[in-house]
């Protein structure tokens, strides 16, 4: 709770220094829609016990989501028109996305599921491609983000929310 209290957005964003810049980067990512409020919650959970919590979660997410994406891909190949199966796999991916706050990716997942519901193979294929694309884009941006954070070094860490 202490940590959370310290993690006030205004406080973070107000910093004029590099840490502040980093924080603002995160917000930019949010504004661009790549990430949503949930990601802030994730970051807020960082504390002394896990100073890199957000990064750990993100790493875990990308690893697991790669697996889930490949599941969907295989299902699309091996089980043509098996919308139920496709939907089930995509649901898992969607759940993951929502946990980390990957909003754009999540909405592509949702449209994939809609197409499944409609039985629209073409639509499914299209939106699946978009899912993959968003996945790649998010990964890129977050990697850059965390790298920045690391480069900020102790100063950055000290000024990170909750730290």
């Amino acid at each position: 709770m202490r940590n959370l209290r310290l993690n006030s957005d205004s406080r973070r964003a107000a910093r004029g220094d590099r840490a502040g810049a980093l924080i603002r980067t995160g917000r930019i990512l949010s504004r661009l829609g790549y990430l949503d409020e949930q990601f802030c919650q994730v970051e807020d959970l960082q504390d002394e016990a896990s100073p890199n919590f957000a990064e750990e979660v993100a790493t875990l997410f990308f690893k697991d989501s790669a697996r889930l994406i490949s599941n969907v891909e295989q299902a699309l190949e091996k089980y043509p028109k098996d919308f139920n199966r496709w939907d089930a796999y995509m649901q898992q991916l969607k759940g993951s996305c929502s946990s980390i706050g990957a909003s754009r990716m999540k909405s592509e997942c949702m449209s994939f599921r809609d197409y499944c519901g409609q039985g629209n193979v073409e639509g499914c294929m299209r939106s699946f491609h978009k899912v993959k694309r968003e996945h790649g884009a998010l990964r890129q941006k977050l990697e850059a983000y965390f790298q920045l954070l690391r480069q900020a070094g102790p100063a950055g860490a000290a000024t990170r929310p909750g730290m």
Binding site: L4, Q41, A49, K63, A88, Q92, S99, I100, G101
Partner: protein, 601 residues
Amino acid sequence: MTVEEVKLQAAKANGGHGAKDQFPIGMRVLAVDDDPTCLKLLEKLLQHCQYHVTTTGQAATALKLLREKKDQFDLVISDVHMPDMDGFKLLELVGLEMDLPVIMLSANGETQTVMKGITHGACDYLLKPVRIEQLRTIWQHVVRRRSCDARNNGNDNDDSSKKLQVASAEGDNGGGNRNKRTSRRVRDDNGDDGDDSDENSNENGDSSTQKKPRVVWSVELHRKFVASVNQLGIDKAVPKKILDLMNVENITRENVASHLQKYRLYLKRLSVDASRQANLTAAFGGRNPAYVNMGLDAFRQYNAYGRYRPVPTTNHSQPNNLLARMNSPAFGMHGLLPSQPLQIGHTQNNLSTSLGNVGGVNNGNLIRGAHMPLQDTSKCFPTGPSGPFNSFVGESPQFPDLGRCNTTWSTAVSSSNVQELGQKDRIVNGPKLEPLSSFTEASSQIPLLGNEMQSQVASLASNGLPMPFTQEAVPFAYGSSTNSREMLNNNLALSNSGINSSLPNLHIDGSVFERNIDGSVVTRQTLDGSNSGGGGVPPLQDGRIDHQAVNSHLNYNNELMGTSRLQRGLSGGLDDIVVDMFKLDHADNGVPFIDGDWELV
């Protein structure tokens, strides 16, 4: 954390009430989710709430952990979609085995899924992504459950929690109190989000949200129960004392209370029967509801019976056989194989057996059998032999014969009596009995008419005539009043046992009578076997009834009981019996049921 854990334990020692302030801190949560991202996040969130968290990505591991360290967790949070086990299944198992509150977690927020979670017993259903605010309040579920337990165990007299229905019938011992308490409990228990449990409530109608394993009132258990009651004196027997006397574990006062209610109703029914000639009918009556609800398809057709309820002299063309049987000297009551047919009430089997015996005359069998078997099987159906018939009446249209038999019997009364009984049975048994699906099976096997009936009866019988009270019937039948019914019960017991032996599949559930309160209830109980609390009709597990066995049993039963009852009831009382029986069944069908005493029409 250590300090917090210590505090928590101290809080627990206080029953969880003392250290409310500290309690949520250190609460031990087990988190289960196959998604590593979510799991990690959840873990962190819970830690931020100052809970003690254990995580696992597999349901199997979770179960293992819980089983090994039962007392080391306070709460379980589980994802719904998991690869190795369905989240709902895990939920059920945890509720049953460990009786811990379980919170479901899912990205899927569809009402249907949420509903499923609640009905499976989840305390709460959270949507992903979970927010920390939501997790801060989950400790309430633990406290709630604890206080429910405390309340359940601490209650003193007869307040079988949700026996509202029984209250109407029982009326004694503060039925009002019971109701009040029940409603209070319901309110408290269901505090927030559907503390489920409705579905999983025990046979005893334990309304609490805890999922307690159902208490199965086995023959042995019922015997102890009856012995205790007799020892205390039926008037002085209160659940607490009975429980103490019985000295059995895993039974709460609640369980005993509800069982006692049923038992009382059963006895009442017996006495009513005894006063009337239609002892058998009475027996049936009680059962009927159960049977009726059993949902036996065959029994459904029984509605035909209802028809002749109002008309004592309904035409039973079919019953001819039955009548013949009935009229035959040997037949008397015997002919009907009352014990067996009655058992149908219990387990549908009875029905089949009785039917079988009757052959074409379903009615005859049913009625007769109902009476007789019921008595014997009274064990099964506290409400009396009518049980089996009850079911018939209500549900099984398949027994058109019975309807026809009515004419033969020309006893509208009996059917009414029967119905009444059935009703009583129902009333007695709070626990909700669902139509026995198994019965359905059995019922289908029970050809109402003649031969068919036999097979049906057989099928019923095979399903395990509920003769739970075989043993018990004897004790209280003999020991207590001189009700003919009791005697019959004894007989039934005897016959039941006989039947049992021949019909291994029959499951005699002492609690059968309990369940018959509303037919449906009974059905379920007996059918499931596990529910046996209700003492309804034993589940027709096999659906196969050994005709011969059943018939022979019935005959045996008839002989046992037959005399007194038959003689009483037979003198033109067959009609009454039949009528009664049908009446009972009817009750289930919603046909105007004669409330109150079973009266021979």
